[in-house]
Amino acid sequence: MCLAVPTKVLSVDGNLATVDVQGVRARVRLDALGEEVRIGDYLLVHAGFAIRRLDPKDAQETLALFDELFAWEDAPPSGSPSP
């Protein structure tokens, strides 16, 4: 139910954007976003409303987060701060 999908913005018309959802065009509302949206942006969309802008760079940074976890293991266990 709370599934939200990354979509790519094809055009913006005021409160509405046309997005590409894995090859399908859809209209989504932007009222709940509170951010400027441009063509080519990625939006996380749930039930017809965009809830966040996504940056593809951040996906790669997630992988780097995992590596921090592995690095924690090699560090001494006492009082290590969380990432």
């Binding site: 951010e35 017809g48 409303f49 976890l69 592995f70």
Partner: protein
């Protein structure tokens, strides 16, 4: 994408939900995460609870439970909004439909049994019940049918509620109203921890609810119950990573909120969406099917918008009916004390085509997901 990773285990083989730039598919790191979990499984049994149907889908589709060390179990709590919508709300929706209004709602809701009938059965008997994909679609129905009352039966958590708020605040037509059954996740986590016997060592917080409310929203619950809460994304690697963070906290005796999904979740969340929620709704006590009344866990439409509140527009009375058919173990499943296969009715006679309890109706209910993916606990 990319086919089966060379792991010898069924990881990440299903159709991805993410678009390519957001796919996390890295067999080497998957293996490293699984190894990490095995190295850091505590000696005592650790029960981790998530509250998100989409998490359950990722876990079941990818067979993640089979990768966990034997001391670690992951259960779905009350993560399916369709499953936790109480019969009293359903009965209200049915009565409104039977009075001649057009009732619009999300697909699964039409199949959830009320005291007498489902919305789908009411439709078969002549009521006008329509499936929509968005609150905005229900407003379109209202504009197209100005001489009919149109009621949007709104269910879902904080991910869904901003859409309902947006249409309520966007000057909807006078014939449009909302029957509001939205629910709030942090209050549910609080209630799960406060319902003894509690054997929950940590939570995976739902990623897209957290996109809206922010990681900070869980701080009070984590501190009050001394329980680790890790915000988790929806790729198989996200889930494994979030479980690893919980295990690390358990090992270190910490009980903090950590954000394992920073590419979609910030500390403070989506402030615009929160503003819409605050303008349209006020928190209220709410009944969760199978669990009961949870203080501060629901949303009521604010008085200023009362003309679009279906409870005012239609003074239908509905009794708080029996929420659970005899023999159904849904309460225990929703409280994360049992898994679907513990229920004697699972598979026979309870199936998605003829569900006995609500956990088999919602396509994200634990029983429905386990039925479809054949997930078995490995305890």
């Amino acid at each position: 994408m990319g086919g089966r990773p060379a792991l010898g285990i069924p990881l990440a083989v299903t159709e991805p939900r993410a678009t390519p730039p957001f796919l996390l598919r890295d067999p080497a790191r998957a293996r490293a995460l699984v190894d990490f979990l095995h190295r850091h499984a505590p000696p005592e049994m650790v029960r981790i609870v998530h509250v998100c149907g989409t998490h359950e889908m990722t876990i079941a589709e990818n067979g993640l439970r089979s990768l966990l060390p034997s001391g670690v179990e992951v259960l779905e709590g009350p993560g399916c909004p369709v499953c936790v919508t109480p019969t009293v709300d359903l009965d209200r929706a049915v009565k409104i439909a039977e009075r001649g209004a057009i009732v619009c709602t999300f697909g699964d809701m039409t199949r959830v049994p009320g005291t007498r009938v489902t919305l789908a059965e009411a439709r078969a008997q002549g009521a006008d019940v329509r499936v929509v994909l968005s609150a905005a679609d229900a407003v379109v129905v209202a504009r197209k049918n100005p001489d009919r009352d149109v009621v949007f039966f709104a269910v879902g958590f904080e991910t869904t509620a901003p859409g309902t708020a947006a249409v309520l605040l966007d000057d909807p037509p006078p014939n449009f109203s909302v029957l509001c059954s939205h629910k709030l996740i942090p209050a549910a986590l609080d209630a799960l921890m406060a319902t003894p016997p509690t054997r929950i060592a940590g939570f995976l917080a739902p990623g897209h609810v957290s996109t809206v409310i922010g990681a900070a929203a869980y701080r009070a619950v984590a501190a009050r119950h001394h329980v680790p809460i890790v915000v988790a994304g929806f790729e198989p690697l996200d889930i494994l990573y979030a479980i690893a963070l919980v295990l690390r906290q358990v090992r270190e005796g910490r009980a903090e909120v950590e954000n394992g999904y920073p590419r979609a979740v910030s500390e403070e969340g989506n402030l615009r969406a929160q503003e819409l929620l605050a303008m349209a709704f006020a928190p209220c006590d709410a009944v969760w099917r199978g669990i009961g009344r949870i203080p501060g866990s629901g949303l009521n439409i604010r008085d200023e918008l009362a003309r679009h509140d279906a409870r005012h527009a239609f003074s239908v009375q509905a009794e708080e009916g029996e929420d659970k058919p005899p023999g159904c173990l849904c309460s225990e499943v929703l409280l994360a004390r049992a898994v679907p296969t513990d229920c004697p009715l699972f598979r026979d006679p309870c199936t998605p085509l003829s569900p006995v309890g609500p956990c088999m109706v919602g396509s994200e209910g634990a029983c429905s997901v386990w039925y479809r993916y054949g997930e078995r606990p490995h305890l």
